[in-house]
Assembly symmetry: C2
């Protein structure tokens, strides 16, 4: 097979893979669950936060709950409309980061990237903590052990993603649709019961909530506004995750942008409906919730509640009321809610490496993150994500209420910069665009993004005011750290790039090649290295042996002569049994003697397969290579000799290459339905 054939084969291989890419693209009915689990799962905790905040002024403040819900819905609608513009304008899947970078510059891009990194960690922490609450409401024995259970879940997710679990449409579709069905059934049936007057009161309906200090009746206007602002900003947690589709446009079927925009609208409609109906129904069944740290404000019939009172989530309480007398309904609802929360956490494990690889391409993260197949880089990212999430879960006792305080800032920072970027994008487009129809569309899009910016800016201000001391400062600190780190990495890469930039005189041919082959014994690897070195026809070629033992040295010299190798053997004496230093010094001396020549050091290496074998072999070669790299004018050639056991490692590497990596699905890399993408 000629080299031409070889390259054709490689190109053909490429074409084959490109055509397979089509098969992996997602139809809307599969894309919706893949990208919606994060956004929809917030219905499982956002309503709770609204009620908890309102309860500061006692249960009477719950009259405001549906108005707060409406405000959140309006903002969500505006944000969804904005992102529909984004998926049209940036179909490459870069999402908020790309929008901010392209339109507002690198600093804005790095800011959004920091916010997104922090968000991934918090998505895991919040979703898993909320999931643990649901698990505890279904399995009372778990109650009180939520932090440990949540950490175990994170570790399980981490292990699954390290192992390389295949994300597939079905993996998401079944639980996500089941969640929609469960909430839908619950709401419809509940509405029917309410209509017929059969709606049972919630388990907590007879609880009295004493207002917190400073929120006693009658509230001042400022007090009320502040209360509503806090409830609203907590409810804004419902918006987290809606941006996911803008990162996944490449995974959609054609026409990509249109399908993505439609899916976004669908997602928005479902999320808003769910949130509002759940909040309305919660009010009707009389759910009572307070901050888990303030159970002392609760009483039932004048008696304070016991210290170990187990407060259930809004959806659990509604499900218990609605499905009263039909336990399977309750268990189904709570189970699928728990599952969708875990699924939402899993999306963070998949999104994180994708973001990492985009950042690596832009030089904001270590470059190794940018190439697929660097298992180590992937693994480090996954472990980092899991570790940070566990720290947060333990620090905040797996209480979603406390974690939410950290969560929303990051989301809204990226919302804001992204909207601002989009406005800039349209303004710039209008400068050059002539077609009146196109101009009209652009102006309309700009209006939508401006409205979006207005709302998200208001929310960001409210969130900063109401949540800064409650935990948002931690997020801002973490974002700042990531930002500084990314800028430093970027700067370092630029500095190196400047130092490496080629100029005109940079291509001086070495005048001569002095090759030395390191000899430890006269075995197959050494003979192969000698043959390979000879094949390159250097100007000088010699074997080099470091003598630490007189007997072994004379034995080797005898054997060398007997074999008639017609290569001279140089013996370096090393009284202290050092191996590396004499060679490095010898190479340096040769180079010094002939500064325009190059020294080629050939190291025979034998390749073994098992990790413990690697500890027993080649340690000196490894150290020597490391040292020689620092010696100017030297190049180091490894001549491998594959031992039989190396087959083990070869097989392992091959298995590893075909293993699924987190983020594969959303970059369209693996066919979610067949194994074709993996076959060769």
């Amino acid at each position: 097979m000629s080299v031409g054939d070889v390259s054709k084969r490689i190109l053909l291989g490429r074409k084959l893979r490109s055509s397979q890419l089509g098969e992996t693209l997602l139809p809307k009915r599969i894309a919706l669950p893949v990208f919606a689990s994060d956004a929809l799962s917030s219905v499982a905790y956002a309503p709770d936060e609204v009620f908890i905040m309102l309860s500061l002024a006692g249960a009477s403040a719950y009259v405001w709950s549906w108005k707060v819900a409406l405000a959140v819905a309006v903002v969500m609608a505006a944000v969804i409309a904005s992102y529909r513009q984004t998926v049209h304008a940036y179909p490459s899947g870069g999402g908020d980061y790309e929008v901010a970078k392209v339109n507002l510059g690198e600093r804005a891009g790095a800011t959004v990237a920091s916010a997104l990194l922090v968000d991934y960690v918090l998505t895991v922490a919040v979703s898993i903590s909320a999931g643990a609450q649901y698990a505890a409401s279904a399995l009372p024995t778990l109650s009180g052990h939520e932090p440990i259970f949540a950490c175990a879940l994170v570790v399980l997710l981490m292990a699954m993603n390290l192992r390389g679990i295949r994300e597939s449409g079905g993996f998401f579709a079944v639980p996500t649709y089941a969640f929609m069905v469960a909430i839908g059934t619950m709401v419809v049936w509940g509405a029917w019961q309410w209509w017929t007057g059969d709606l049972q009161a919630a388990e907590s309906a007879d609880i009295t909530i004493t207002p917190a200090t400073g929120f006693e009746e009658p509230l001042t206007t400022i007090g009320l506004l502040f209360l509503l602002a806090r409830a609203f900003s907590s409810g804004a947690a419902a918006l987290t995750g809606v941006e996911a589709i803008s990162n996944g446009v490449p995974a959609f079927r054609r026409p990509k942008s249109r399908n993505a925009a439609t899916t976004l609208a669908l997602l928005g409609g479902i999320a808003i409906t769910m949130m509002i109906t759940v909040i309305l129904l919660a009010r009707e069944v009389g759910v009572r919730l307070v901050d888990p740290d303030e159970f002392d404000r609760l009483s039932r019939g004048g008696q304070p509640l016991p210290a170990d009172y187990d407060q259930h989530t809004v959806i659990s309480q509604i499900a218990e009321s609605v499905f009263h007398g039909f336990p399977p309904g309750f268990y189904f609802t709570v189970t699928v809610t728990g599952i969708i929360l875990v699924l939402a956490a899993n999306t963070a494990f998949n999104g994180f490496p994708v973001l990492g690889s985009i950042l690596a391409q832009d030089g904001l993260a270590p470059r190794a993150l940018g190439s697929r197949g660097d298992r180590l880089a992937y693994s480090n990212g996954i472990v980092f994500l899991a570790a940070m999430a566990i720290v947060l879960i333990l620090a905040f006792d797996a209480e979603p209420t406390r974690l939410i305080q950290l969560y929303i800032v990051g989301v809204f920072v990226s919302f804001n910069l992204s909207q601002l970027g989009m406005i800039r994008h349209w303004t710039r487009g209008l400068l050059t665009e002539q077609d009146p129809g196109e101009r009209r569309r652009m102006v309309r899009s700009r209006v939508i993004n401006t409205v979006g910016l207005f709302f998200t800016a208001v929310v960001l201000v409210i969130v900063l005011i109401t949540k800064f001391l409650a935990g948002a400062w931690i997020t801002i600190l973490a974002m700042g750290t990531f930002y500084v780190l990314m800028r430093a990495i970027r700067k370092h890469y630029e500095m190196v790039s400047d130092e490496l930039a080629a100029d005109e005189e940079d291509r001086v041919m070495p005048t001569r090649v002095h090759a030395i082959v390191l000899v430890s014994k006269l075995h197959k690897p050494t003979l192969r290295a000698l043959a390979f070195a000879q094949a390159t026809r250097p100007n000088t070629l010699e074997g080099v042996y470091v003598a630490t033992d007189a007997g072994a040295t004379s034995l080797l010299m005898k054997e060398w002569d007997e074999r008639h190798l017609d290569v001279p053997l140089k013996v370096l004496h090393s009284p202290y049994r050092e191996l590396v230093r004499p060679i490095v010094e010898y190479a340096t001396e040769i180079r010094r003697a002939n500064p325009r020549g190059v020294v080629a050091v050939y190291i025979p290496e034998y390749v073994v397969g098992r990790w413990w074998e690697q500890l027993l072999h080649n340690q000196t070669a490894l150290r020597l290579k490391g040292r020689l790299l620092f010696t100017p004018g030297v190049m180091v050639t490894s001549v491998p000799y594959q031992l039989q056991s190396s087959q083990i490692a070869r097989d392992r590497v091959r298995r590893d290459e075909f293993r699924v990596r987190p983020g594969d699905l959303r970059s369209g890399r693996v066919d979610p339905r067949s194994k074709k993408g993996r076959r060769r």
Copy 2:
């Protein structure tokens, strides 16, 4: 400078170093403290163990103490006499391991090596635990926190040895002689006080010891014998460390063997005198000691002692009595005793790597341990030693009494095999030796070693019987593990060596060299790699670029053309942004097209200096090299380009090379008095 000059320079360098070697050799007055600290320090705990064992039958059994001491002294004298034969017969410093290996075969050698490895760990654990006891008797606040304090000491020793502390004669001489002076003064002054009747009773003299269950009066003959056997085998702990000189013969001044033998005799005399006089004096002042776990057997004036009774060591108690009214005397004695114990532990840190390097040369340990300068191997050994010692200290609560049960087995296993080996050595020598004077000496030596074997065999049997269940089984288990491990390593090396053995057809010259230079950008490192590759005049030379991005690819191709590199550029397409696989596949295809040729892959690498820079660079090169090594017929050449920051790493490596390594002093590597050995 020509190559001839270079080699002369290297040879001169060697001569210089050889002549320096003389300066580092130790005179007897320095060698004694260097090698004696381990043996002498056992005077700080062996007498205690004798009293503790005897106290099983109550304080009345203390009448046997000096007879037990005498028995130990006899065995010690026999062992010292035996080792004087060893240092004459094996002046190379291999010690027990070499004697057993040469005379009894590899299995015996591996057994002795296992025993020595275990002994090093126990030397650290026992010495440091005893040292912590002394510290507690001087500083009462430490009392009860001995395990933590002992662990801290081990960590400190570990850190010092990792850092590379210089062992020097002075380092040992001052505290060792101070210890001799302290014990000597104490004994002489105590004897004077006893003579004049002024000797004060020990703090514990008025304590009554209830005999332990099974040891109540009157003792049966068997019971008494068993009691004495236990006391004797515990007292045999005094023998640990006497073998050290046989490992250090190369460090002595000439005539090495004779000086070593004289030093051994001196050491034996001092150790025996110290032990016997301390035991006699302890009886006179009325020291009362029991196992720290059995304080409930103690009472004073009919009242049981409080639970937090603080039992002081024999030397502390004697010092307190003798130096009554002169606290500096007490504090000096206790302090130097503590210091010499820490010094004894430190010798284990120095002996361990020396043994490791001998084992590595014989293929019983990873080969990397054999070459000096492998800092990683040294560090791993030191950390391993410290970790095992800490585990033992914590498991046995830093109580020397309990650790001693584990200690003595290993020591006596190697004593026995070494004596047996020596007998075999003389017997073999007598087969060929003709000179009557020489024969007479040999026969005499064989008698001495036979007597030594007799005594050490008796002790080993006693130790096994009396201590097996008390902890010796742990030692035997650990020895077994080391033994199996060493045999497995040995077997593996042999297997590999067989697979690698060269036969006649092994030197087929490749017919052609197909060189490919990996290109990521057209910067200085790439240009250098191209130039170096061109200098080797391969049959085919091409640049290879993995295209993951269309824009970057066309930019590179344009730049490539502009530079008129007259090397063709091959573009490999990689739709999934993989970098490693396309290159490996391409190399494989080339090789398949020409199975008798060789593929030379040139990888431009830039060398940076800081650890975090290394995380940011060359990760792909590293992974690629790892993968290509498994591909037959491929050789991998790294062409380094040194960035400015690489100077940092170069300096670090250089500093590291000149750093002192544990074990340097006893292999005669570093001048203990001047810095000459470090200068170049």
